[in-house]
C-alpha cells in the first residue's frame, strides 16, 4: 500500500479538520464522537448558542449515517457499508462533511427531497417542518425525514450536497454542512 500518512495529516491540518473517521458507524462510536466534540468546544470557550447548534447538527447528520446502514441491500459490495465524516472549524464557521454510498434509485428520491428543502425560505422551512412532524410517517427507527429539514433550519444555510455516480447500482452521496458562528 502506497500511502503517505504525512500528506494526509498536512491536508487535514490545512483544511482545519478537528476530527475525521472512516469505517462502520456504531451507536458507541457516535456517543464517543459527540463527547469528544463537546469537550473540544468547551475548551475553545464557544458560546452556548454555537455549541448547541453544532451539537444538534452533528447528532442529526451522524445519526443519518447510522440509520442509512440499515438500508443497504445484502447484495452491496463489501466496503459500501462504511462511511466517512469530518468535522472542521475555521475562524468564522464549523463544517461537517459526510459521505456514504447510496443506491441510485434512492439517490433520486433523496435529491428531490433535498432540492425541495433548498427551494424554501426560513418561514416556509418552519411550516414544512411542522407539516412533516405532524403528518409524516415514521420509520420503525424513528427517523421520519425531519433530519435534513432540521439541519437546514439550524444551520441557516442551503444544503450543499452531491451525488457521484459510481456504477449502475450505486452513487456516493456527500453532504457539506456549514455552520456560521
Amino acid at each position: 500500500m502506497d500511502i503517505n500518512i504525512y500528506d494526509f495529516y498536512n491536508k487535514m491540518e490545512q483544511d482545519n479538520i478537528m476530527l475525521s473517521f472512516k469505517g462502520n458507524v456504531t451507536s458507541e462510536l457516535l456517543t464517543s464522537v459527540l463527547q469528544i466534540m463537546e469537550s473540544k468546544m468547551e475548551r475553545l470557550n464557544e458560546s452556548n448558542k454555537i455549541k448547541k447548534k453544532v451539537y444538534n447538527i452533528l447528532v442529526e447528520s451522524l445519526q443519518n449515517l447510522y440509520h442509512h446502514l440499515d438500508k443497504q441491500p445484502d447484495s452491496a459490495p463489501k466496503g459500501h457499508n462504511t462511511v466517512i465524516f469530518m468535522i472542521g472549524k475555521n475562524e468564522d464557521a464549523y463544517s461537517v462533511f459526510t459521505g456514504n454510498y447510496i443506491l441510485n434509485a434512492n439517490a433520486d428520491k433523496l435529491r428531490t427531497k433535498l432540492e425541495k428543502i433548498n427551494s424554501l425560505d426560513t418561514d416556509e422551512l418552519k411550516l414544512y417542518y411542522k407539516e412533516v412532524l405532524n403528518n409524516g410517517m415514521m420509520s420503525d427507527k424513528g427517523g421520519g425525514g425531519l433530519g435534513m429539514i432540521d439541519i437546514a433550519r439550524k444551520s441557516g444555510q442551503k444544503l450543499d450536497f452531491d451525488f457521484q455516480k459510481v456504477d449502475d447500482e450505486f452513487s456516493f452521496y456527500s453532504l457539506n454542512i456549514n455552520i456560521p458562528q
Partner: protein
C-alpha cells in the same frame, strides 16, 4: 397506577411520571438512535392514565437537546395529553428553554402551534 421513573443517560432524558399527582417531567438530553423504543413506556403509561386522569395534569419539559427522531415521539406524548385535555381541560405544558437558546424556544412554539394544550414558555437563566 404506578409511578414511572426512567433515569437519564448521556443520550436519554430522565422521565418521571406520577399519575397520583398528575405530574410529568422530561428532563435532559433526548438523542437516542431508537427513540420509539425509549418513549414506549411513557406513551403506554399515558394511555392508561387517560382513562382516569387527575383534574390537573402538569407537564414539565426541560430538554437541553433533542434529535428529530425524539421530536416525533414527544409529539406522540403531547397527542396523548391533548386527548386528556379535550376531556378535562386541566393539562398545562411548561416548556423550559435556556435564555439564549432560540432554537429550543422555537421548537416549543412549533409544538404549541400543533397541539391544542396551553403552553407556558419558561425561560431558564444560565
Amino acid at each position: 397506577m404506578e409511578n414511572l421513573v426512567i433515569e437519564g443517560t448521556p443520550k436519554t432524558p430522565t422521565i418521571k411520571f406520577n399519575p397520583e399527582d398528575g405530574k410529568l417531567l422530561i428532563q435532559g438530553r433526548s438523542i437516542p438512535e431508537n427513540s420509539i423504543e425509549f418513549y414506549k413506556p411513557l406513551v403506554d403509561s399515558l394511555e392508561s392514565y387517560a382513562s382516569s386522569p387527575k383534574e390537573i395534569t402538569n407537564v414539565d419539559i426541560v430538554l437541553e437537546y433533542f434529535n428529530t427522531s425524539s421530536s416525533k415521539c414527544i409529539l406522540d406524548v403531547f397527542k396523548k395529553l391533548e386527548k386528556i385535555n379535550s376531556d378535562s381541560d386541566g393539562v398545562t405544558i411548561n416548556w423550559h428553554y435556556e435564555e439564549d437558546d432560540e432554537d429550543m424556544l422555537e421548537a416549543g412554539e412549533d409544538y404549541q402551534a400543533i397541539i391544542n394544550i396551553p403552553f407556558k414558555m419558561v425561560e431558564l437563566e444560565e
